[in-house]
Symmetry: C2
């Protein structure tokens, strides 16, 4: 008896996406198509080069079943529908095209399960708005994996992935749960990774954003690793913990009770001796856009909806938005023109 | 009849200090000794080179009456007491030596008037604590003057200086006012500058710190000029105005009523077309320490004393303190050691 492999499209092949492709393919239950951008030429020519904590070091010349540099247009290309579209790009809703615009041609309405493995809060909302009858899964990845050069991946912290259904009015909860459990099964089939069904995705997301809205944001503004922040002590007391407290308060208003112990645990989460620079800090140092809107902006907006005051997060949000503006200017998307009409000119 | 010239020591000869020395000497009523540090050799050899909006361009080879590279020790060197010690250095109380430690050997107790021409709030307090019987003047300079190379000064915004007595329990108010009015007279004697007696120094200081705690601080964190901030609009709405409101509230608790119109005026104070980078932003870009303690730290501490909440300023303060820590590390004053015992390790 032959088992039909699941057709999986992975959009975004940095560290997280490539290791997802590797886990899925080596498990034998999925046939992966990967959409590559900056690393397409390098991978097309010589495959990925991977040093992985979970899968072994010295992996060379590996490619998923199919590699391409455009989003498949399922209808126009006459392709079979994808069972899963896994989104592992950065989420930058303030820059076009947005995630939903990017993936739309690859999604078969009412059929493809969309699996959002990205940072932040409310990343699922624009997807459900556009594809109300598709199952949307929410994935929280705790992997440590970086693309150090085109097609070269250093995977140095275990691939732990929590996946669960994100509620949608026009989708049967049973169907969503089944799709999630199936994905967990095919992702974990390689036996090397820790992929688990998460029945409380909002809790996991808010827990992770407690770290990201504080450490990741402050690291980005200061361009500083989390070890130096902890050694300074004042940065934890004056910035990290106040930001975390505002997140915990906002999560509670959104129905997610994070115990205070979460904050203590997250303060010490990174090994002290690795001087880790969180993702947005790495992005800004590379001149890339930062995904601050879903990491800080959405929590701030959720707080406002609930009538809560989050001045620390709002200040950090304003600063990150200012830094993003500088990147927009550097990339030609913004020109400071004094001739324009503005309220402060 | 010969008039005895006032003996004036100027500590700190960047843009502000050099132009003060020039105004005082050319007015003919003061004999200036200037203490130079980084620019001593250049000025000793060939004098200052000055292009000044008030005094004319192309001034070359000028020196004050006396130039030295150490603080005079009046007692040990057997010098006549100074009538005035004018302090125009940056004020960095978190780095030793502090201002009071620097100037102490040049001050004759009960005799020398100490004139503090620096940014921020409460800069006078450690001086009065150390020299309780000396007159302390507080000066708010609105000059635009920069040292572009050693000994080379570009003075491009008018020298406007407000001077008034800072209250001290052991000094007669009449004596303090007389010393201030005398200094205004000598400083303005050149006829080219706008030096005025200020009977409400706290008002002028809080007004200026309203600009500095907001624009100067945010410029430093973002490394951005004030024109771009205004063109962005969100930086004014989300950061500058909220910070200004907290300053105005704190000033009020300290007895200084700044009208709301001050905020509107300060938002548009810098010419929009010059893309001005405030002083701390320039300092951090040069790798220098920033004087954030008196610009943001003291307002935050005053607010706390009065039971007020200033979360925006506290967040900005924490970030600036983090940036200062990076400078301390770069200059060898801090080493992040993971072996140390700390509450977050």
């Amino acid at each position: 008896m032959t088992m039909t492999k699941a057709r999986v499209l992975i959009v975004g092949t940095g560290g997280v996406g490539t290791m997802a492709a590797y886990a899925l393919e080596t498990g034998g239950q999925a046939e992966v198509t990967a959409v590559l951008r900056s690393n397409f030429t390098a991978v097309q020519r010589s495959g990925f080069e991977i040093d992985s904590l979970d899968h072994g070091t010295g992996i060379k010349g590996w490619k998923p079943s199919s590699v391409r540099n455009t989003i498949p247009n399922v209808a126009e290309e006459g392709l079979s529908p994808f069972d899963y579209v896994v989104v592992t790009t950065k989420n930058i809703p303030d820059i076009r095209p947005t995630v939903v615009e990017i993936i739309a041609p690859a999604v078969t309405a009412g059929k493809t399960t969309i699996c959002m493995v990205q940072n932040g809060i409310n990343i699922e909302k624009p997807i459900i708005e556009r594809f109300p009858r598709n199952v949307v899964l929410s994935g929280i990845s705790l992997i440590g994996a970086t693309e150090t050069a085109h097609g070269k991946i250093r995977h140095d912290d275990n691939d732990t992935l929590k996946i669960g259904p994100y509620p949608s009015l026009q989708v049967f909860p049973e169907a969503a749960e089944a799709a999630a459990r199936n994905f967990v099964q095919i992702y974990g089939a390689c036996g090397k990774v820790d992929c688990m069904y998460d029945e409380n995705v909002p809790f996991s997301r808010w827990r992770k954003v407690t770290y990201n809205a504080s450490f990741n944001s402050v690291a980005t503004v200061l361009r500083m690793d989390t070890s130096r922040m902890r050694l300074s002590e004042h940065i934890i007391d004056d910035l990290i913990l106040p930001a975390m407290r505002e997140i915990v308060m906002t999560a509670k208003a959104c129905g997610v009770e994070l115990p205070d112990s979460v904050m203590d645990a997250l303060v010490k989460a990174d090994p002290i001796d690795i001087f880790f620079r969180p993702s947005m800090c790495q992005d800004i140092e590379k001149g890339n856009y930062i995904e601050f809107e879903n990491i800080v902006g959405e929590p701030v907006r959720e707080a406002e909806k609930h009538g809560l005051s989050t001045p620390v997060l709002k200040t950090i949000y304003g600063l990150l938005k200012g830094l993003q503006l500088k990147t927009k200017e550097a990339k030609g998307l913004w020109t400071p023109s004094v001739g324009q009409c503005g309220k402060y000119i």
